[in-house]
Symmetry: C2
Subunit: 144 residues, 2 copies
């Protein structure tokens, strides 16, 4: 971890959970780069995935969090971008494994699938777990 | 759904569950295009995601199933490919939502995260659920 902010973005379905996670990141001592959406009006999740991918690509952030209804569509969109490794997680185990094995740099959460305490646990585990390296590095390199 | 086979691929961690799902697909009346891996020896999940993406791109299959330890790394790799919409699902709800909202064409499963009956339920729901279209089509189009 560096001192760079954690980037975060969501669509309308994820807006409320994103707001909670922005507070949680602050409580954990992280600076936050909030890329929207800024309210409950309907938007398209790929636009916000693209905004977060751009923030990682230009170095404004090294890790990010994405939220939509399921976490699945916004992660698909993020993973279109080389260098982004976005993992839709539903519990601490998946958040831990994707850090250890995939060196995931973006946590994707489904606001309609998991509750707020599960989401916070995923976030903390995602931020606290180191990549295991070794044989996993070769596979991450193949992702491009 | 067309009469085209369902493509399926996994790494070593997903090999056993893949074998079970090949049988299940046959029991459900689907032809299966099994792209490996063919045994428990260690392989790299991106290679098998790429093989499945190629099968979708050249029209050998229209839908696919990917299995690795978490379902997360192999889905990241698959989503690098335009036209592939791979969703790591952990229950029927996530499998239903990603068909309805994202028109997902690849189901990704984590052999170390979910049990075999949950995996079979995800598979059946994934295959039986139609895309909802409407406003979701615009977002899918943005995925490319």
């Amino acid at each position: 971890m560096t001192g760079k902010p954690i980037a975060i973005a969501s669509d309308h379905a994820g807006f409320e959970l994103k707001s909670t996670l922005v507070e949680e990141l602050g409580a954990l001592g992280h600076a936050v780069l909030d890329l929207g959406t800024g309210g409950p009006d309907s938007v398209d999740y790929p636009d916000f995935a693209d905004a977060l991918a751009a923030a990682l690509a230009d170095g404004r952030a090294e890790r990010g969090v994405l939220v939509c209804g399921s976490g699945l569509g916004i992660a698909m969109a993020a993973n279109r971008h080389p260098g982004v490794r976005a993992a839709p997680c539903h519990d601490e185990t998946s958040a831990r494994l994707t850090r250890e094995h995939n060196d995931a740099n973006v946590l994707a959460l489904g606001a309609r699938l998991i509750g707020v305490e599960v989401a916070k646990d995923c976030l903390r585990t995602f931020l606290d777990t180191e990549f295991a390296g070794g044989r996993h590095q070769r596979r991450v390199d193949k992702l491009g």
